[in-house]
Symmetry: C2
Subunit: 120 residues, 2 copies
């Protein structure tokens, strides 16, 4: 594996809500995503999910509160907890979660669902 | 779990080569460390190790090359690969690796060995 320069990788894509795999650690994917607008409510029953904001601002709505993240802040959504990410303007995030986890979790299939992710 | 602001956490300690646990994802620890000087050659036989440079410059010596990382760059040292981190001036990193992995891996016990890590 080579090193990963986050800015160089972010320059390779513009698609929103479509994480790109940039590396891995053990059985986990390291992913980058550009988020803008509102995702769907969902949960992952067996996996935690790490969000690290690289640039911009991300709101992660939970059922009982909203976590507000600026660049240089991270949050781990615990397994089984319903959440909905939202970004009013484009936000760039590093995601880490076990390989193979469906991005929309238990939500109904939609245009946001990604069954396979590109590697960049 | 609350969100983690990396800058606020880094302000809480000054010790070098002594990772602090700031959170977790599944069975993995999310750690922050300040590195300065030269670590010891070591490897982790069963675990990959993620280094993400938050501030400064980090050199990760491998036996056949050296990986040079600036802020916003990450590298995963594969399991079983000998490495030696080095930072000529203080470098701040986010580390991710399976919980319970000894920081010095297979190297002989030394002043750098940390059998338990603080949570901050």
């Amino acid at each position: 594996m080579d090193k990963v320069n986050l800015a160089e990788k972010f320059a390779l894509f513009d698609e929103r809500w479509s994480p790109k795999i940039v590396g891995g650690i053990d059985d986990y994917d390291i992913k980058l995503a550009k988020l803008e607008g509102e995702f769907v409510w969902h949960k992952h029953d067996r996996e935690d999910e790490l969000f690290l904001v690289v640039d911009g601002h991300l709101s992660i709505e939970l059922r009982d509160r909203t976590v507000e993240l600026d660049a240089g802040e991270l949050f781990v959504v615990p397994k089984g907890v319903e959440h909905r990410p939202r970004a009013d303007v484009e936000c760039r995030v590093l995601l880490l979660e076990r390989a193979g986890v469906l991005n929309t979790g238990d939500a109904a299939e939609s245009a946001l669902t990604r069954h396979s992710l590109d590697r960049i």
